[in-house]
């Protein structure tokens, strides 16, 4: 082995592989009197599977992440398609305008959503001014809907950008060929553009799902009691509850889901006729 191999694999082992391995192993330990007992057991997993509130939280969170992905897929596709139809100068501007919020602090955006959704918030002021409601709606903040809306807004760029990139990759010749062969606008869209841009949508949905299902900041800041998600459950094990092995075991389940989704997205997003 050469020196550079040693440095690279040394770094990878020390700061990526061994930490991940120790986290995986930790899920099989347990806690007695606030200290970790290093003896392997399946007790954590048995508890997670048998405990109703853990199970409910798990499925509630996955469902929420799925809903956010689905909503964003529709909104994101429409937006990406709109950008793609603009003249080039507009396109660049719109893409940059979409990327800018990605570089803005995540926590700040969540906080800002509070100002929009709150009882005194912007959305309520608008609804009141338009006469849609008579008094401020308090149901917009500190519940699961608030988490859905916030995550959806914050994660939108992760959906639009990959779809836009795959739309942009469609060669003009393919579109011309479709037109030459007599395909109408709708037919071209359904049989050429949509299948060719779907991989971008799948990548976007993957990002959205993985990020939404593991998030604990948005639920913590806008979710209230109803918005207690799986991410918060994990995080709480490392705070007050101080049960790191249980937290690790809970995360192992989350990681399995995330890896399965990433794997599925790779298969689906790279169909045989494109390989």
């Amino acid at each position: 082995m050469r020196a550079e191999d040693c440095v690279l694999w040394g770094f990878a082992a020390l700061f990526i592989l061994i930490p991940l391995a120790s986290f995986l192993v930790y899920g099989f330990f347990f806690v007695v009197d606030n200290s970790v007992v290093y003896r392997p057991t399946l007790a954590n997993f048995a508890e997670i599977l048998s405990n109703d509130s853990y199970r409910t939280t798990f499925f509630k969170t996955l469902r929420m992440a799925l809903e956010v992905s689905a909503i964003n897929l529709v909104l994101g596709y429409a937006t990406a398609y709109f950008i793609w139809l603009r003249p080039p100068a507009w396109r660049n501007f719109l893409v940059i305008a979409l990327a800018v919020p990605l570089l803005m602090s995540y926590i700040i955006k969540i906080y800002a959503m509070r100002g929009v959704l709150g009882t005194n918030g912007l959305l309520n002021s608008v609804l009141l001014a338009l006469g849609i409601v008579d008094e401020p709606v308090s149901a917009l903040l500190f519940n699961l809907t608030a988490v859905r809306i916030t995550l959806s807004v914050v994660l939108l760029p992760f959906m639009v950008l990959p779809i836009y990139i795959s739309l942009e990759r469609i060669p003009n010749s393919v579109l011309n060929a479709a037109a030459d062969l007599g395909a109408g606008e709708l037919q071209t869209f359904a049989r050429v553009i949509l299948p060719l841009s779907l991989p971008g949508g799948i990548v976007g949905a993957m990002f959205t799902f993985v990020l939404a299902s593991g998030d604990f900041l948005a639920p913590e800041l806008v979710g209230g009691i109803e918005g207690f998600t799986y991410g918060r459950l994990i995080f709480s094990q490392f705070g007050l509850a101080f049960n790191w092995p249980l937290g690790a075991a809970l995360s192992i389940l989350l990681m399995i889901v995330a890896l399965a989704v990433i794997y599925m997205a790779r298969r689906l997003g790279n169909p045989r006729w494109q390989r």
């Binding site: 990878a12 990526i16 986290f23 803005m104 700040i108 906080y111 100002g115 593991g214 490392f238």
Partner: protein
């Protein structure tokens, strides 16, 4: 034709709503950093810099900002060295199995939910007896931004003509000389781009940091603590300042990205 019109209009309105949703919250915070609010209405007659003045007398925030900068710069230097080594390694032997394995490993902390990267490092550091502090945060950030820097540098390396390196070696340049005089000059823009992007990511990173921070946290961690306690208008002022900083970084980044060829390089190598 008429149906198409309708489709155009609905596409445009959805896109408009998407952009509105992305920018409105931020705009609201900006406005509220100068005005006070009462009963859900902004009082336009109350323009002042009061919240900014209060902000500058808050010492813990200054400390947190300094921590953020120290963490960002250190993590990026470390990550850039490793990422460049890794990119050179993979570029030199693209079909080697160990090189592809290495690539997977580098991408893991970026692809997995941040909560998992954070808690695995937390457990690891506890087990080897390293207590939480700036050093642990730096490791977390370096690992997190590694994949981005690696990707940008590798893209540039792959677009470089192999004959350049071969010519240098034919003329008797050592490996180090080839790197110093042939490869490095070509990496200047990608390194700058990657560095700016990585700094922006590190500056905003919250989830991994929350696990790894001891008593001295970075700015987002401090913000998080403030937000949980409740609403203070100073936060709006602070956020406005951070956003201003982020926007400047983004503009610089976009400029650097364009000059370095951006996505175009990628497309050329694909064809």
């Amino acid at each position: 034709m008429k149906r198409l019109r309708l489709l155009d209009v609905s596409l445009a309105s959805v896109s408009f709503l998407v952009y509105l949703a992305l920018y409105l919250p931020i705009l609201l915070v900006f406005v509220l950093s100068f005005f006070s609010m009462r009963r859900g209405r902004v009082r336009w007659d109350t323009f002042s810099f009061e919240w900014y003045a209060r902000l500058f007398s808050n010492e813990s925030l200054g400390e947190a900002l300094l921590n953020s900068i120290i963490v960002g710069i250190t993590a990026i230097i470390a990550a850039t060295v490793i990422a460049t080594l890794a990119a050179l390694h993979v570029n030199a032997r693209p079909s080697s199995r160990s090189a592809r394995m290495l690539e997977y490993v580098i991408f893991l902390p970026f692809l997995l939910p941040p909560i998992i990267t954070g808690l695995s490092l937390l457990i690891y550091f506890r087990e080897i007896g390293v207590s939480r502090g700036l050093a642990t945060i730096i490791v977390g950030h370096a690992v997190f931004v590694l994949a981005i820097i690696y990707r940008i540098i590798l893209t540039r390396l792959n677009s470089l003509s192999r004959s350049l390196v071969e010519a240098a070696q034919d003329l008797g340049a050592s490996r180090l000389q080839t790197f110093r005089f042939i490869i490095l000059p070509n990496l200047r823009m990608p390194l700058l781009t990657a560095g700016i992007l990585a700094f922006a990511l590190s500056f905003d990173e919250t989830m991994i940091t929350l696990f790894l921070a001891g008593t001295d946290g970075t700015l987002p961690v401090r913000l998080y603590a403030m937000m949980r306690v409740g609403f203070t208008p100073e936060i709006n002022a602070l956020i406005t300042l951070i956003l201003g900083f982020s926007i400047v970084l983004t503009v610089v980044f976009a400029f650097a990205w364009r000059r370095s060829g951006g996505i175009d390089n990628n497309r050329i190598t694909r064809i």
